[in-house]
C-alpha cells in the first residue's frame, strides 16, 4: 500500500507518511498524558488514593465494633500511643472512627454525585437537545431550585426527610437512614448546575457539523444524543462530577455540623465535627482530625478535578 500509484489513479499517492510515525493515541491516552503532566493533579490523585486506602484499608486494622466501642472511663483523651487521634466524648477511638466515618463520607460523596449526574445529565440533555417548550419548562424548574441557596434548601429538606428515617442494613452493616436522606438531599439540590452545564454543552455540540452530518446520514435522534453528543460532552460532566464528590462531602459536613446531617452512631467526618467546636479549647483533636481529613480529601479531589479539566480540555484554564 505504500506503493505509489500512477497519478491518474489519483489520490493514493497522497498518503501522508507522517501520520504513520506517531503511535495511535486515543483521546483517553492523550488525556492521561496531559493529566500526568499536571503536577498538582498527580499529587491530588496520590493523596486521594491514600485517603481511600486509609478509609477502606483501615477497616482491616480496626473493626467497626472497635470504632463504635465506648469507653466512658477514657473519654476526651488527648492523642496518645493507644489512641493516636485521641478519644471522643464517650471514649471512642477517633482514629478508628475517622476510618469508618471516611467510608461513609466517601460513599456519600460518590452516591450523591451519581444522583446529581443522573438528574442533571438527563434534564440538561433533554433541555439542550430538544429546546423549545420542554427546554423552557425544565429551565424554569432548574431556576426554581437554583433560586434558593443550596444550604437553605439542604437544611429544609434534611429536616423534611428527617421525620422518617428508619435505619438500614447493607452488607451486614447498619447505617443510619439519614445517610440515604443526605445523599438524596444533596443530589436533589445540586443537579441544576450540572444540568446547565450539560445543556449548554448540548446546545453548542448540537450546532457542530458532525451532528448535521449524522442527521444527513439518517442517524436516529436517540443515537445522535447518546452516541454523538453525550460522548462529546463527557469532559465537563466528568470534571463537574469529580468536583461534585468534593462538594457533596463538604455539604454533608456542613449539614452535619449544623446538626441536621447523618445521625450517630454512624460516623462521618462531618458529624464527628458536630458539637466538636464546643471543645475548641479543651479537646482540639475532636475537630482537628476529621476537619483536616475533609479538607485534605476536598483538596485532593479539587486538584484531580482541575487536572482533569486541563487534561480533557487543553484550552480551558478556568477554575
Amino acid at each position: 500500500m505504500e506503493s505509489i500509484a500512477p497519478p491518474s489513479k489519483g489520490s493514493i499517492a497522497n498518503l501522508s507518511p507522517d501520520v504513520l510515525e506517531t503511535p495511535p493515541l486515543s483521546l483517553g491516552q492523550l488525556t492521561w498524558r496531559r493529566f500526568r503532566r499536571h503536577k498538582m493533579a498527580n499529587f491530588g490523585a496520590i493523596m486521594l488514593i491514600l485517603l481511600v486506602l486509609y478509609a477502606f484499608g483501615g477497616a482491616f486494622v480496626f473493626s467497626e465494633a472497635y470504632a463504635n466501642k465506648t469507653e466512658t472511663g477514657a473519654r476526651l483523651q488527648a492523642p496518645s500511643r493507644e489512641h493516636p487521634f485521641g478519644t471522643d466524648t464517650v471514649g471512642r477511638d477517633i482514629l478508628a472512627r475517622t476510618i469508618y466515618g471516611g467510608q461513609i463520607s466517601i460513599l456519600i460523596g460518590l452516591t450523591a454525585m451519581l444522583v446529581e449526574l443522573v438528574i442533571g445529565v438527563t434534564v440538561g440533555a433533554i433541555s439542550g437537545f430538544f429546546g423549545g417548550l420542554i427546554d423552557s419548562l425544565l429551565m424554569r424548574i432548574t431556576e426554581a431550585v437554583i433560586v434558593i441557596p443550596q444550604i437553605f434548601l439542604l437544611l429544609v429538606m434534611a429536616k423534611y426527610f428527617a421525620a422518617s428515617i428508619p435505619n438500614i442494613t447493607i452488607l451486614g452493616r447498619t447505617f443510619s437512614g439519614s445517610v440515604v436522606v443526605i445523599i438524596l438531599v444533596i443530589g436533589v439540590t445540586t443537579w441544576p448546575y450540572l444540568a446547565r452545564i450539560v445543556r449548554s454543552q448540548f446546545l453548542s455540540i448540537k450546532e457542530n457539523d458532525f451532528i448535521l452530518a449524522a442527521r444527513a446520514t439518517g442517524t436516529s435522534t436517540t443515537e445522535i444524543i447518546f452516541r454523538h453528543i453525550l460522548p462529546n460532552s463527557i469532559a465537563p460532566i466528568i470534571v463537574s462530577g469529580t468536583l461534585s464528590v468534593a462538594s457533596a462531602i463538604t455539604l454533608e459536613a456542613y449539614i452535619s455540623f449544623l446538626g441536621l446531617g447523618v445521625r450517630p452512631p454512624t460516623a462521618t467526618w462531618g458529624n464527628m465535627l458536630e458539637g466538636a467546636y464546643n471543645y475548641i479549647e479543651t479537646a482540639w483533636w475532636l475537630w482537628f482530625f476529621p476537619g483536616a481529613l475533609i479538607a485534605l480529601i476536598v483538596l485532593s479531589i479539587n486538584f484531580v478535578g482541575d487536572g482533569l479539566r486541563d487534561a480533557l480540555d487543553p484550552h480551558s484554564r478556568a477554575i
Binding site: 466512658t72 473519654r75 466524648t89 464517650v90 435505619n167 447498619t174 445521625r263 450517630p264 464546643n278
Partner: protein, 577 residues
C-alpha cells in the same frame, strides 16, 4: 481602572448603606423604652442612647452591672406566651408570681400576704375555691398599684380565644376568677385541683397597659409589651433588647421588697456552649447555665461556682408498651427488668456526667413526693441474662442477638439530638449488646421528636421502642398526665402525650385520685404507690437526675437558686467586694 473604581464605589456605597441600616434598626426597641420613660420618668438611668456606651463607661465605679450568658435568646418576655426554659427562668427579674419558691423549693408569698391554706381560709375544704389576699404595697414599675383587676385580666387573657398563649393549664380547669375587692382574688375550680400551688399565677399581666390593646385589637399576641415589658413587677425592669445580641434589665426603683443591689443585668445571647464557657472563663459573664457536664471542671478551675438546681427533670427511658404497636418483648416485665439491670447507669453518670448527679430511680426524684425507699436498679448483667432466658428470649440462631418465636430482640432507641443523649445511646447500645439485646439508634430534632401523633412525631407514633427524654412534672408538684390511658395518642386522640402507650387501669385510677387530694400527706401516700408500681414494673427506667446547672462567678454574692423560680432572690444579689 474604570471598572475597579466604579465597583469600589459601588461597594463602598453598599457598605455605608448597610451600616446606616444597622444603625437604623435599633430605634425599634429604644423607641418603646423611651415612651414610658417620658411619661413616668422612673430612675432608668438617662434615656439610654445607642451610640453612648451604656452606663458602664459613664460611672464604672458606681453602677453595678452583672452579665448573664444565655445560649438561647428569649422568644418572648410575656410569661404566658412562652414555654422556653430560658425565658421562664428569667421571669423573676422583671415579672412576678403570686408566690415564688426558695432554694428549698418552698413557696414564698410575693404578691399575696400569705399562701392560701385550709387553715387560713384561703382554701376551701373541697379544694375547689382559693382565696388570695394581696399585699397592700405592690405596684407596677410605673407606679400603678397591682390589684385584683390584674389577676382577673391575666385570667381573661389566658382564656381569650384570640390569644395564642402557650398553656392554659390549669386555668381551663377553673370556673371563674373574681376580684372581690382590689385586694382579694377568688378562684373557683370546677373540680378539686390539688397541684394548684405549683401552677397558679406564674406571672402577671399589667391590665392598665395591655387592656387598651386587647380592647382595640382583640388580642395581645402582638402587643409591644411582649417584646419590651417596660412595665413590670419584678425587682428589675426591662430596658433594651437587641435582637440576636443582648437584653438589658435595670433596677426597679419602685420594687416593694426594696431596690435590688445590682443596677443592671445584661443577658448576653451566645449561640453555643463553647462561647458561653469561654465568656464565663474570661470573666465576660457572671452567670451561665445549661452546661454540658464535661465543661464543669474547667469552669470550676476558672473559679466559677457550680450550683446544681433540681427542677424536677429526670432523664429516663419510656418503654413502648402500646397494646398493638410495641415490640412484644417489652410487654414482658422481665425483659424490662433485664434492660434495667444490664445498663450500668451508675458508670454512665460517673463518666459522662462526671458523677455530678445521681442515677434517677423514679420520675419523682427530688420532688417532695419522692419515695426515698426506692433506689435504682443495680447493674447486674448476669441477672439480666437470666431474666431474659427465663422470659424465653434466647439467641437461637447464634447471631449474637436474642430472639423468640422468630422475632429478634432488636429495639429501636430514639431520642433527641442533644449530645449527652446521643452519647448515652452509644453507651447503652454497647452495654445491652453484651446481654444480647441489639439497639437500633435514632435521633431527631426536638420539634420532630416531640411532634404530636398527628404530625407523625417520633415519640408519639409508637415507631420507637425505647424513648429517652426528660420531662418534668409540674414541678414542684408531681402531677403528670404522661401515664393516663386517655392520653394515649391515636387517630381519635392525635395530641395525646402518653408516649409509652401504657394503659394500666390501676395506675390510671391512682393518678386520677391524687389530682383531687388536697391533703398533702394523703397525696404523698398515693404517689408512693404510683412510684412503686412504675418502678417495679419498670414502666420507666431512670437514667440520671437532670438538675439545672448554674455557674456563678465569684464576682456575684448572695446568689441562691431555686429549682422552680431560679432567681427568686435576685434583688439580693450583689457584686462581691
Amino acid at each position: 481602572m474604570v471598572i475597579r473604581q466604579s465597583t469600589r464605589l459601588f461597594l463602598f456605597v453598599l457598605v455605608v448603606v448597610s451600616m446606616i441600616l444597622a444603625g437604623c434598626a435599633q430605634p425599634a426597641t429604644p423607641a418603646a423604652t423611651q415612651a414610658p420613660a417620658a411619661t413616668e420618668a422612673p430612675a432608668v438611668t438617662e434615656a439610654p442612647s445607642v451610640t453612648e456606651a451604656p452606663a458602664a463607661t459613664e460611672a464604672p465605679a458606681e453602677r453595678k452591672v452583672a452579665t448573664f450568658i444565655w445560649t438561647q435568646e428569649f422568644d418572648t418576655l410575656n410569661p404566658y406566651y412562652t414555654n422556653m426554659w430560658f425565658s421562664s427562668v428569667t421571669q423573676q427579674l422583671y415579672n412576678c408570681w403570686a408566690w415564688d419558691f426558695d432554694e428549698a423549693n418552698k413557696p414564698q408569698p410575693r404578691l399575696v400576704t400569705e399562701l392560701p391554706s385550709v387553715d387560713n381560709g384561703g382554701l376551701s375544704a373541697d379544694g375547689k375555691v382559693i382565696t388570695m389576699k394581696l399585699r397592700d404595697d405592690i405596684v407596677w414599675s410605673d407606679g400603678t398599684p397591682i390589684t385584683s383587676e390584674d389577676f382577673v385580666f391575666t385570667y381573661q387573657m389566658i382564656m381569650a380565644d384570640r390569644n395564642t398563649v402557650a398553656s392554659r393549664n390549669p386555668y381551663d380547669l377553673m370556673e371563674k376568677v373574681e376580684g372581690l375587692d382590689a385586694r382579694t382574688v377568688v378562684i373557683t375550680f370546677k373540680e378539686p385541683y390539688a397541684p394548684w400551688v405549683a401552677n397558679l399565677w406564674r406571672g402577671l399581666l399589667p391590665a392598665h397597659v395591655l387592656k387598651p390593646i386587647f380592647d382595640q385589637e382583640g388580642t395581645i399576641d402582638t402587643a409591644e409589651w411582649n417584646k419590651a415589658p417596660t412595665v413590670g413587677c419584678g425587682p428589675f425592669v426591662f430596658d433594651q433588647w437587641e435582637s440576636g445580641s443582648f437584653t438589658r434589665f435595670v433596677a426597679n426603683e419602685k420594687y416593694w421588697l426594696g431596690r435590688p443591689k445590682l443596677d443592671e443585668i445584661f443577658f448576653r445571647f451566645v449561640p453555643d456552649d463553647a462561647s458561653q464557657i469561654a465568656a464565663l472563663k474570661a470573666g465576660d459573664g457572671d452567670l451561665g447555665t445549661f452546661f454540658a457536664y464535661s465543661d464543669l471542671p474547667e469552669l470550676e478551675a476558672a473559679g466559677i461556682k457550680i450550683i446544681n438546681s433540681f427542677s424536677g427533670y429526670n432523664e429516663g427511658i419510656y418503654f413502648n408498651m402500646h397494646a398493638e404497636k410495641g415490640h412484644p418483648a417489652l410487654k414482658d416485665v422481665k425483659v424490662r427488668q433485664a434492660i434495667a439491670l444490664a445498663f450500668d447507669r451508675q458508670k454512665l453518670v460517673d463518666d459522662l456526667l462526671l458523677g455530678r448527679t445521681k442515677v434517677a430511680a423514679t420520675d419523682w426524684d427530688n420532688t417532695p413526693y419522692n419515695d426515698p425507699s426506692i433506689s435504682p436498679w443495680p447493674y447486674d448483667p448476669e441477672k439480666a441474662k437470666a431474666l431474659l432466658d427465663e422470659a424465653g428470649w434466647v439467641d437461637s440462631n447464634g447471631d449474637g442477638v436474642r430472639d423468640k418465636d422468630g422475632v429478634e430482640l432488636v429495639l429501636k432507641y430514639g431520642t433527641t439530638t442533644r449530645e449527652i443523649r446521643q452519647d448515652t445511646q452509644a453507651v447503652a447500645q454497647q452495654q445491652l449488646a453484651e446481654v444480647g439485646i441489639k439497639l437500633d439508634l435514632q435521633s431527631f430534632d426536638p420539634d420532630i421528636f416531640f411532634a404530636s401523633y398527628a404530625e407523625n412525631g417520633a415519640s408519639a407514633n409508637f415507631s420507637l421502642d425505647l424513648i429517652e427524654y426528660s420531662d418534668s412534672p409540674n414541678f414542684p408538684d408531681p402531677d403528670t398526665s404522661a401515664w393516663l390511658c386517655a392520653e394515649i395518642p391515636s387517630d381519635e386522640n392525635p395530641t395525646g402525650v402518653n408516649t409509652s402507650g401504657l394503659c394500666d387501669e390501676e395506675l390510671d385510677a391512682l393518678f386520677k385520685l391524687q389530682a383531687t387530694q388536697v391533703d398533702y400527706n394523703e397525696r404523698v401516700q398515693t404517689f408512693n404507690k404510683i412510684t412503686k408500681m412504675i418502678f417495679e414494673n419498670v414502666y420507666w427506667l431512670g437514667l440520671w437526675q437532670d438538675p439545672d446547672l448554674f455557674g456563678v462567678s465569684s464576682r456575684l454574692a448572695n446568689v441562691k437558686i431555686s429549682g422552680v423560680t431560679p432567681f427568686f432572690n435576685i434583688m439580693e444579689w450583689d457584686l462581691a467586694q
